[in-house]
Symmetry: D3
Subunit: 229 residues, 6 copies
């Protein structure tokens, strides 16, 4: 199988909040969970996430921005990046490497993996060929940094908001659920303002912000969007 996009994050609704609209422009997702405050970027976790990447073979990986208030977010960002690197090493036999770490149980199940467009391979495959994603981009919402680009989610905005609300009601009895999030109207106002703010930067109604480390490559300068003046 070959996925289009894999979004890696630390918590159930992180993906919904930071790049849910962008994912809705494609089609499907699922999430794994880990205990709050416990993401570690260690060898075993890198191997586990690398295995997911070899199974799903995404072209694009979306990671949290590498700084932020929540340690789980910036640690998941580094963990995800280094796992992408490991997944592409031809000589690394993930099955053998993970067995060698088996006795030491990870306290982190694996990090959230949101899978888009396609189906996950049923079991941990015994023969996982190396795979390195072509593109890694960082979701920068909530991180007080100028994005490289935004994605127009004007048509996905309502569906994304409903999807986030569904998550919240589902996980409301979980840790951090009750006190962090205010009531629905207030959530709506905040999320809409953020999306609209990034939309204004690009001349669309709602948008989600992202950063890429590479310089861009433009095919046709007469087709670059966003008015300058």
């Amino acid at each position: 199988m070959n996925l289009d996009i894999l979004a890696i994050a630390a918590h159930p609704d992180d993906v919904e909040q930071t790049c849910g609209g962008t994912l809705l422009r494609v089609s499907w997702r699922e999430a794994l969970d880990i205990p709050d405050g416990r993401v570690e970027n260690n060898w075993e976790n890198r191997l586990k996430v690398a295995r997911v990447i070899r199974q799903l073979r995404p072209r694009v990986v979306i990671l949290p921005y590498w700084e932020g208030r929540h340690p789980d977010h910036y640690t998941a960002s580094k963990l995800g990046y280094e796992a992408c690197f490991l997944a592409g090493l031809a000589k690394l036999d993930l099955g053998r490497a993970l067995s060698a770490q088996q006795s030491a149980f990870s306290q982190v199940a694996s990090a959230v993996a949101s899978v888009v467009t396609g189906e996950k391979q049923g079991s941990a495959a015994e023969t996982l060929a190396p795979h390195r994603p072509f593109k890694i981009i960082y979701a920068t919402l909530y991180f007080d940094i100028r994005p490289t680009f935004v994605v127009d989610i004007s048509e996905q905005f309502e569906a994304r908001f409903e999807s986030l609300m569904a998550y919240k009601s589902q996980f409301s009895d979980q840790e951090a659920g009750k006190d962090i999030f205010p009531a629905r109207d207030e959530i709506r106002a905040r999320i809409e303002s953020m999306a609209r703010f990034y939309g204004i930067l690009a001349g669309v109604t709602y948008a989600e912000p992202f950063l890429q480390k590479e310089v861009g490559l433009v095919e046709d300068v007469t087709a670059i969007p966003v008015k300058s003046i």
Copy 2:
């Protein structure tokens, strides 16, 4: 008429050197000249460049980067930007405004205007409707700054080099011609290295670097070029 791209620069071969390959991906250019070291960003010159913009009605304007070693370059950048702004003001009657300045002859004819794709209107039109370019981008070659994006000029590189050499032989008896530019082989080696350096950043052979002030807007995150890892 409606142009695709207008490149504004201070000297005959500035355009060739900084965005010649990008222009060759489209079709045609011409250049005006001004005395070296004398570009001024004043009201009269802004009106004159604004008139060219209203005549040619470009969608994209390429300007020199707004810092640099040569005062003509950074002044032309500001002059060009502010002229783009003036050209779009509905209430500004350029014919009347220029007449009011007529007695004070500008020492600057108008700044280099490289016209691409289309034909220039024969005479200074009496009825020039307001026009504001959609996009302004800055050519950053030679300016020691990270570009926002590059344009692949691998197929245009040889033609661009020959075009630059043609300029040099044509203008070689002019000021600055003789001592700034070394012999052909050395020019070739330097120009090729610069183009290849920016190409390496984006995974192509030769490229020219540009900067845009706006954030980008991406239609399809699975189609973003340039490998991350």
Copy 3:
């Protein structure tokens, strides 16, 4: 007289849009007008704005940020700053200096001056003592830059919006009025999103962003607002 705050800007509603809520936390304002696209930072205009500063003797001056899309905004910023400097020069006799420039009429009346808390002196005073404002801050709304601080305008937001709408209806037949500003609902949505975005940064509902060049000075570290984590 000694004013609290003087806001200098280029256009009738610039002050309303960028620091109207902050001014409403105090009490009163008025505005002068200049033709769009024509602000010049020259000696005569600096003298004229310096005279206003010596008349009104403000403690704080609010200027537009020194970069931006609109040349009038960034030029007004530099003009205002240099006028603040001139206003404080003990040996500069503004009356004599302005007379010397009298024959050359400025095309710029004076730049918008929004006067808060107090009354403007009726006529150009013959004896204007030197005055240098204590503090200069820059309104950064619409300028894509991280503010140093924001001001909570939650209680002033509605009044500020109505005041902006009043301006718009009053000036709607003026240059640039019709096409720049979309309908009331759309304006409301955009302005609210911007104010809320900056509010979120500081944990309040609505805010306006500002930048100061100096480092801050904190009296009591246990009283610094805005939650860190």
Copy 4:
């Protein structure tokens, strides 16, 4: 108990050197010690520092800046930050979590904890309610970075210097004591210059520099200190 300020650092006199004057504007401190060059940001140490935070319940935590020459300093900064985060997690039972790590003895006792204004709880409490500090600021002295703000320590400067000298004589036979610090007069000249340099930035005699990650929130723009011009 509820502390005002808790300063976390890596070495006995780090607090004295970087924020001693600021702490003297309040009232009391104490310090723990760790072996030089051995601070590790691992799970066990985060739990231990989190326990101190839950015991002392500070409103403000001062951390070393997150970059610097000494690995202990930047590691203590990250350790302190992530401990603040853990201390606030409602579902984290620190007693149980620490017992689970008991067999693996930390080589790091706990990191220096300087306690101001109040008394430390006698023993490791069995019932430690979650607590997240309201504000985290970073002491930037010696780190070659522009501070967000400084604190005027003109009245505390002499007491701070004597306190630092007392530390030095007390610890002079310890590691790093002898060779790093030159004689008293030289120390005096250096410390005074640093304090005066930061004082000059804000128009006071002596000051200590700090950085906060959040934007500021200003109640009254006419009361902002530090002259602009």
Copy 5:
């Protein structure tokens, strides 16, 4: 004649304050004066400063940093830079160009020119060959910016301070003299702290800070000064 260093600044003691120690490591200086608050970067002033550069033919030019509180400082910086450029243009006949501007008397005599090591040509030479300085560096003292390098002035510090005091007593009845500068002891303390602060950055006692725009070129990496760790 060929000078070593030419320092261009706006006011009598600007050079003393920002690079006086560096100049004392060489040998001689003189200064011209201009009215406070009146430096303009216009064509005529650029020609005048260019003439001084062609007369003195310096290898190094020291300019004020291009930002700052005082408009004279940052304007003198731009004026000096563009004059360096003009001075090197082979086709520019300064005598003829200045005559053409003769009727319009400049209100600025020429900008301070501090001449080091050598003697100034008696009169405005009729045959001034083009000359472009090899190196332009910027004095950054008082400008709140990280310098590229500092110059050790430990042995020149006392002579520089006395020289500055001599200036002050000489110019004390001039504009800006009385209120800007506090008493001698306070001046001494401030100037010593600034010099010592920059000295600490490089491991020497007193230093003056400078910035260069170019990357450095190191001959021998084992001879780079300033301890890293």
Copy 6:
């Protein structure tokens, strides 16, 4: 023994690629190897690299830049830096500390250590006196960042290229060898372009870029290389 320069990197030809020309201006090197993708910055590895530093006693240490695409590179950078710090701690007995870690075999042999000018001590010395390198600089080639300075390698360029080719043929059957590196001509073109690009910045033919964290210290301002204008 006392080395001049020690280059620490993660992979066999990293040193050749990023600072090979600079090392050839001196005399000798050797390299250790580690498995690709497995560099860890942990206590044991820091002790091991610290032991090499105490044995070789280099004045200058060259490290990879602390960011980059390859995790081994940025991890080796931090590992090397912290090892330099540990190597200088007077109270740290490396022999005893390493014995305490002996049972836990490091999966990382030690990180590449390129030794220049001198001979390595035959065995792990029992009496290794503390040593802290005077200078740490970072090789920034391939890392898309402005260097502090470059080193002219025009005379070393050919020897460096042949040395890199020798490495490649020797290691071509190793992991990462086949697919990362294109054919010889393409390698030549890329490496030459990079070296020439950095050469152009400083006015030499070929150069390698480096960054230092400290400000510079200039002995003679008239001798600073690299033309400004």
